[in-house]
């Protein structure tokens, strides 16, 4: 399984043609206390860069973009009752949604973990 990151601080784990998407630890730290997450429903078709989810902290609302194109398999239902999972385990239990990738070549434009850490270090 490989993990990729976007410049908008989403991550995607890819296993076969299934991707799991969330926001990075850096992003949750910038947002602060997460109080609400709106995840996409199964069956929703997303193009790369589409607004896929909304995450709200005490302070503000932010959009989460789909790192790749695909069809949503599942949103993380646990976030409805426990949005704080995004703070406590952003790159694990706090995942947002899973999707079937329609074009795996889109992953080529994303950063790996090392490149993303270097990217964040410059912010």
């Amino acid at each position: 399984m490989s993990r990729y990151f976007t410049e908008d601080h989403e991550w995607i784990d890819v296993d076969g043609d299934v991707g799991t998407v969330g926001i990075s630890d850096y992003a949750q730290g910038q947002l602060g206390d997460i109080v609400f997450v709106d995840v996409p429903e199964a069956g929703k078709s997303l193009a790369k860069g589409d607004e896929a989810a909304v995450v709200e902290s005490v302070k503000a609302a932010s959009d989460v973009y789909s790192p790749v194109s695909g069809s949503v398999i599942e949103g993380n239902a646990a976030l409805a009752d426990e949005p704080g999972l995004v703070n406590t385990d952003p790159e694990g239990e706090g995942w947002f949604f899973k999707l079937t990738l329609s074009d795996a070549s889109q992953l080529d434009g994303l950063m790996d973990e090392t490149a993303y850490q270097a990217f964040v270090a410059k912010l």
Partner: protein
């Protein structure tokens, strides 16, 4: 991220006396009211809850501290606002509103009667940071020439808020526990002159402390050494005042809003209502008699998603009839809350209304404020 390309004039963001102190204590600095200020330290939720249960230290030095002196000061100030200043006892503070000719709110403020000296009456006033220069220009236009006004830019202003604020502060400044809500007095700490009032904007007991800028860092250190005290940023200040039902100027109050629309009728003192003689008196007194077209209400929002400033209020047909002026997740309530202006017919507590935000409709119920009870320490009458 947006930048300043569309602005004709770039105004340099200013720093406050505690700027380095905030950064050293992990404050995340943002631009606010023209100054760099901390929006949070350990996190808005934790800071909010800490203030409700212990004591939070806020830097509010961006606010305008102004002293006035001169003969005829009291009637001159009364001509600009609806407070009964003549009836204000020595060292007592009052909330008031600077009004324009039409009764619209130019700013909300606190004023305190100081002992008179050889130059006449003296008043200490605290106004909002973002409006202080406009306020001063307005007041200079309206005050007689022999009244002088001094913006105390060499002073910092701290707020220590929460049920344990008194325990922490009394260790450093003996005697502050004798003050009651909206009472003020001079004190000293390590040679620095302090002006302390028992007041604040969180709904909790607490104090606001004016101190010369050169002493504020050592004083903030001494406060932070008290086990009850943690530094608190602007984020929690906003969620605390929202839960306390207190309006924020520039959001819930503006020149388009009158005191009656804002549900600040308590600021219209009886003698002033009877005598008139404040800006917009005719309109304001008529609104008070007949009811305003629209008024500020509290809203409990269903679900978990915050509904924020800019969301619209819909009537049964889906037409826009009002707007949300403040809103967010309320840590002590555990749910999203908001303030909005709605037509009078929709303003009764218990009324169910609909809000629209980014294409999504949210249900809400009008509720009386505050959302969290005030815990001021009032004196025996």
């Amino acid at each position: 991220m947006s930048d300043h390309d569309d602005e004709d004039v770039i105004i340099e963001t200013m720093t406050l006396p505690l700027d380095g102190w905030h950064r050293a204590h992990g404050g995340r600095m943002v631009e606010f009211a023209g100054y760099w200020m901390p929006v949070q330290f350990e996190g808005i939720m934790a800071e909010h809850l800490w203030t409700r249960e212990s004591a939070g230290l806020f830097d509010v030095s961006h606010m305008g501290q102004i002293t006035f002196r001169g003969e005829g000061l009291v009637p001159a100030l009364e001509a600009m606002m609806p407070a009964d200043i003549a009836g204000l006892a020595l060292n007592r503070a009052r909330y008031s509103l600077l009004l324009d000719e039409g009764g619209g709110i130019l700013d909300d403020l606190m004023l305190t009667r100081l002992p008179a000296d050889e130059d006449g009456e003296r008043i200490y006033m605290v106004v909002n940071g973002a409006t202080k220069y406009d306020d001063i220009a307005h007041m200079l236009d309206h005050l007689p020439d022999d009244i002088t006004l001094n913006l105390m830019e060499d002073h910092a202003l701290l707020a220590l808020q929460g049920p344990k604020a008194v325990d922490a502060l009394v260790r450093l400044v003996p005697g502050v526990d004798a003050l009651v809500f909206m009472q003020a007095a001079p004190f000293t700490w390590q040679g620095h002159n302090l002006w302390i009032s028992r007041s604040g904007y969180t709904g909790e007991d607490g104090f606001e402390i004016s101190i010369p800028a050169e002493g504020v860092e050592a004083f903030a250190d001494a406060l932070l050494e008290q086990p009850e005290v943690k530094p608190i940023g602007l984020g929690a200040r906003d969620s605390l005042r929202l839960e306390a039902g207190l309006p924020l100027y520039g959001h819930d109050l503006s020149p388009e809003i009158t005191p009656v629309m804002a549900e600040l009728g308590f600021a219209l003192f009886k003698r002033r209502r009877e005598e008139g003689g404040f800006p917009g008196a005719e309109r304001i007194l008529a609104e008070r008699e007949n009811g305003p077209i629209t008024k500020r209400v509290g809203l409990l929002v269903e679900g978990r998603q915050p509904v924020r400033e800019g969301a619209t209020v819909l009537d049964e047909d889906g037409s826009t009839v009002g707007s949300v002026t403040s809103g967010g997740f309320a840590p002590s309530v555990g749910a999203p809350i908001a303030m909005a202006y709605v037509p009078l017919a929709m303003a009764t507590p218990g009324t169910r209304i609909q809000l629209s935000q980014r294409g999504k409709v949210h249900a809400a119920t009008v509720t009386s404020m505050p959302f969290v009870p005030h815990r001021y320490v009032r004196g025996a009458k």
